[in-house]
């Protein structure tokens, strides 16, 4: 068609269509430009390469926690991932739309759809998730819906603590737990739920408890000593369970002591009206569980002072259940129990995320077989 002919056709079209529309649509054109940008295969490739470079930097230039802070947790990196998913949606589905479905295209639809579904589920999960660390001593019960029950927690913007029903009790920590001849090392006998609807289960590293969409996973465990303060007549004045940290020593042995995970330390004792700064360490008996020797270091309590720099007023050891003399009082580790740390998680989007992974994999397999079949048919 010549230029004159084309002008003529346009003129006829103009005169025959009413009302007359403007030739240039700035409002329509901008979304079109955005769509063209998002549906670009070059953008997909650029994003894949950019994410690849970020990942390589995150395991070479910066590593571990530093990589998490500077790359993987940042807004810009997550924006790249979001842009990739949007690009996948526009790029792929824009091209496949209204086309005949073949084995290859079906597999590719599954593969790309799984990305989009996974992204939506991740967004949903990030809004409603909960992750908390629950620490319990044997026999202790904590309310699940009370934020104070948790050593620490993170939650999504729309998560409500009322979602966590009932209470959690640590019945017992079991060492050397075996299932089908396999040593699980540590298992927690826990009970979760509301009165009348409780669920009890032994959980270990590859078996967690799911109660109404909330998972309870074993995380760590340690000793807890029941420290009792008595007067000279033997009358018990105060007692408290003191969780002990397990600190790995240079010879790979463990020191079980009060303090933090960074090192041994003292604490005010009794907690309400302190008399002493007390540091307790425990050496387990290698044969008999929950017995052994307890080491005490006692300083007079002075508020705001860290006493470890000076000599203790009293120091010594006593077997579990025996008394140790500390000035006008005696101290005893009346019994040893275990404490456990559990990871409590609610991830409502996770089932979709995990299912999407399989769908994506199925898509890859179907596409590959489709291509191989097409290749063979082409030869034939």
């Amino acid at each position: 068609m010549t230029r004159n002919e084309r002008d003529e056709v346009e003129l006829v079209a103009e005169t025959e269509s009413f009302p007359v529309e403007p030739r240039y649509h700035p409002i329509h054109r901008i979304p079109r430009m955005i769509y063209d940008f998002l549906a670009s295969a070059r953008l997909a490739m650029a994003l894949l390469v950019a994410i690849l470079v970020c990942c390589l930097a995150g395991v070479t230039v910066v590593r571990g926690a530093q990589a998490w802070l500077t790359i993987f947790s940042t807004l810009w990196f997550n924006a790249l991932l979001v842009l990739l998913v949007v690009n996948v949606a526009c790029c792929f589905f824009g091209r496949i739309w209204h086309r005949r479905i073949t084995v290859i295209s079906f597999g590719m639809i599954l593969f790309h759809m799984s990305f989009v579904a996974m992204f939506l589920a991740i967004v949903y999960d990030s809004l409603f998730f909960f992750q908390g660390s629950l620490r319990l001593t044997e026999g202790e019960t904590l309310q699940n819906s009370d934020p104070h029950s948790y050593d620490g927690y993170r939650q999504g913007r729309f998560f409500s603590f009322s979602r966590l029903k009932g209470e959690t009790t640590l019945v017992k920590m079991i060492r050397g737990y075996r299932v089908g001849g396999e040593d699980k090392r540590a298992a927690y006998d826990v009970e979760v739920g509301e009165p009348g609807h409780k669920r009890r289960e032994v959980i270990y590293i590859t078996n967690n408890l799911d109660y109404k969409g909330v998972k309870y996973l074993p995380e760590k465990e340690g000793y807890s000593a029941l420290i009792v303060l008595s007067d000279k007549t033997g009358k018990e004045l105060y007692g408290a369970h003191v969780p002990l940290q397990s600190l790995k020593q240079k010879d790979n042995s463990y020191l079980y002591t009060t303090g933090t995970k960074e090192g041994a330390g003292s604490f005010p004792f009794p907690q309400d009206s302190p008399l002493y700064s007390l540091q307790v360490a425990y050496r387990p008996d290698p044969v008999k569980d929950r017995s052994g020797e307890v080491f005490f270091q006692v300083w007079p309590y002075r508020e705001g002072e860290i006493p470890q720099q000076e000599q203790p007023a009293a120091a010594g050891k006593a077997p579990v259940g025996q008394h140790f003399s500390a000035g006008g009082h005696t101290l005893a580790a009346k019994e040893i129990r275990y404490w456990v740390g559990m990871n409590v998680r609610h991830d409502p989007g996770k089932p979709v995320i995990l299912a999407s992974l399989w769908v994506g994999l199925a898509g890859m397999i179907i596409t590959t077989f489709g291509r191989m079949r097409k290749g063979r048919a082409g030869k034939g």
Binding site: A44, I51, T368
Partner: protein, 275 residues
């Protein structure tokens, strides 16, 4: 010396014979050496299998827990796939020029890292996902190693189609075969990542934590994902992709064995802070 070690070093020696046969066959353009290379690879594969079996039988612990075992098992899968491909599907005589030296060096390296057999399996690893994960990883490695080997064959034939290269399949056949092995490797890496995510979800409650090993596996997967996009969407063929597959293989070996076991990660000897 234990019979397991005798078998192991015998396998290394025979893979060494295979390696030099392939390399000298290529240099001397004497294709009978390729047959020697193939037969010695086959002969080495038997004690290689036996060493894995003996180690496994000694403790009952899966034979791919330590770095040495992991490399040994990865090489086992690579040589197995190479032999199956060479003996049944498509004969590409000099293919071992890349596959066997890589296997020889990796297995020799594994030999320097051998430790005593573990007496028990870490509780975190007592899961069926372990098998799926490892089979995905090792088969993925085997696939991309052969894809790179076919890429090398492509480049050799393209450069000089006379002599031994003349007996290689057509360039288009080599290109397609290489692509198929990459696609297979991509799927197996996908299986490795998916099973790892499920396993991590059971043990730690999360499916992805940007752990260095997870990121390296993503790097491998993205590299081959980009390969497939370059081919399918951008129409790349031939030498460009052949070079790509060779470079990607180097990254793959680093990501699979070079980094994970040298860093403090979930995969570092599969340690878990569970004290």
């Amino acid at each position: 010396m234990k019979s397991e070690l005798v078998c192991f070093w015998l396998a290394v020696a025979l893979y060494g014979v295979s390696t030099f046969s392939y390399i000298f066959g290529l240099i001397a353009r004497y294709d009978k050496l390729y047959l020697v290379g193939l037969l010695s690879a086959l002969a080495g594969f038997l004690p290689h299998t036996a060493s894995i079996g003996l180690r496994w039988a000694a403790s009952g612990v899966e034979p791919f827990i330590t770095i040495s075992e992991s490399i040994t098992f990865g090489v086992f899968m690579a040589v197995l796939l190479f032999l199956v491909f060479q003996l049944t599907v498509k004969k590409v005589p000099p293919l071992g020029v890349l596959v066997m030296p890589t296997s020889f060096v990796l297995l020799g390296w594994a030999g320097t890292l051998i430790k005593e057999v573990a007496t028990s399996l870490n509780p975190a690893l007592q899961s069926a996902w372990l098998w799926v994960h490892i089979v995905g990883a090792t088969t993925g490695f085997a696939s991309v190693l052969i894809a790179a080997g076919l890429g090398l064959m492509y480049l050799m034939k393209e450069k000089d189609s006379a002599g031994i290269a003349d007996r290689l399949p057509e360039l288009s056949v080599l290109d397609t075969q290489s692509y198929r092995f990459v696609a297979g490797g991509f799927i197996m890496y996908g299986l490795m990542i998916v099973s790892g995510a499920y396993w991590s979800n059971t043990v730690k409650g999360n499916y992805w934590a940007w752990d260095p090993v997870e990121v390296w596996s993503l790097v491998s997967w993205l590299i081959y994902g980009i390969y497939l996009h370059l081919r399918v969407t951008f129409g790349w063929r031939g030498s460009k992709l052949a070079w790509y597959s060779l470079i990607a293989l180097v990254v793959m070996i680093v990501s699979y064995w070079g980094i994970p076991f040298s860093l403090e990660t979930f995969h570092s000897g599969f340690r878990i802070d569970h004290s």
